[in-house]
Subunit: 220 residues, 2 copies
DNA sequence: CCAAAAATATGAGCGCACTCATATTTGTTT
DNA sequence: AAACAAATATGAGTGCGCTCATATTTTTGG
């Protein structure tokens, strides 16, 4: 299983190969974990199960993810990246009014997490919460939060430019983030068919919020 | 250490005594736990330490609190009860304008949790998050949330009556709850002397929110 | 091609939260 | 006070997440 050194002084090739293998192992672990999380939730899944399903030793798992929680956090990093990429490609959204834009974004987030409802219930808040500086997760989760906030900030800034809303600065993105947390909470409890009630609430609150901001005027 | 049956057919007395002991043990555990939480945070405190400090066997602890997290949740139940009692007695607040009222309430909450900053950072979000129906904690945490929401609802209803704000219904309390979470997050990260920045943000946001609601008018 | 070195994989072992069969204490009835 | 029942306390045991000394594989340099 050794790989012959094809390139005498090659650096790119071996490195590329190694990184690829490493990436593939990480993907395998992540895939195994998410499938188990979806079936049995976070607490119902053991690291032994995950490593078994991924075909590695239990200890190896912790070479790739510092903790089981860290593994869970990865789900949200993936989700955020996918969301941003998706938005960048959704051309029709770029000119939509702000409430519609935010509705589409949050709606997509809900669809994305839908298959993992139980898992989400267990870790969503934990993944977003601030952590003590000592926690090994603080860096990753903070970066994730910042990335999301920047994404929302840009959208709000665009709306400000178009005079859809008065300038609200950084607080705006922060508020949207909080709002999203509230929506997810409602969504988790929503027993209605297809989570209709949450979608209705989402639509209504976004329109209301925008209206209030507009009526509030530009003179605070 | 037996207690003589003073009342022949008495029910109240023995029951009272028993409950008292039980209560006292529970208090002892809670006191020990909070002291250790304050010193070492949640993760840094073991159930062995807690039971040792409380003078009981380790297994006994779990007769009183289903999980270590449940023990942490108790802190917030106590905090909420204390807050409501305090507000009931703070006569001068009853006639204050809404933003001042909310400022005083949230400010008191922050003061209350201040000595436990690290502990709070670890469990605040977890304790308030919705839980799957399977979780043994779902009932307690839901009750706590409802109690807090009712408390805030009453205050908002009063402000509506006084025409300080337009009628916003149940969403209002929900929004305040979310807002509080945001403030605590900011507070946890706030390095400023005496957390001044958070207090300034608190004041500003409350005034802003009230203003927006007023300007938004009564006609949605 | 062959060491030496660096990267990665391994699983026995550790401390933890939590369980449970049993022992002890407390309460009730006669 | 004795006999029984109910409540409470106990700590050895269990399975978990995670660590770490060691083994294996891969990469590098001559």
């Amino acid at each position: 299983m050794k790989q012959p050194a094809e390139a005498k002084k090659g650096k790119a090739a071996p490195k590329g190969k190694r990184n690829l293998n490493k990436e593939r192992t990480k993907e395998k672990i992540l895939a195994a974990a998410l499938e188990l999380f979806r079936e049995n939730g976070l607490e119902g899944t053991t690291t032994k199960q995950i490593s078994r399903k991924a075909g590695i030793a239990e200890g190896t798992l912790f070479n790739y993810f510092k903790t089981k929680e860290d593994l869970a956090l990865f789900f949200f990093q993936k989700e955020t990246n996918d969301l941003i990429r998706w938005y960048g490609q959704a051309a029709r959204l770029q000119d939509a009014p702000l409430p519609e834009k935010l509705f589409a974004i949050i709606h997509r987030q809900l669809e994305y997490i839908a298959p993992y409802e139980e898992f989400i219930g267990a870790v969503f808040f934990r993944s977003l919460q601030p952590r003590s500086k000592l926690s090994p997760l603080s860096l990753e989760s903070q970066e994730l939060r910042l990335k999301y906030l920047r994404f929302v900030s840009d959208i709000l800034a665009q709306a400000e430019e178009k005079k859809e809303i008065p300038p609200i600065g950084e607080l705006g993105a922060y508020a949207v983030g909080l709002f999203y947390m509230g929506i997810v909470t409602h969504w988790l409890h929503d027993p209605s068919e297809g989570k209709q009630k949450t979608l209705a609430l989402l639509d209504r609150s976004l329109r209301l919020g925008t209206t209030l901001l507009k009526k509030g005027g530009w003179d605070w």
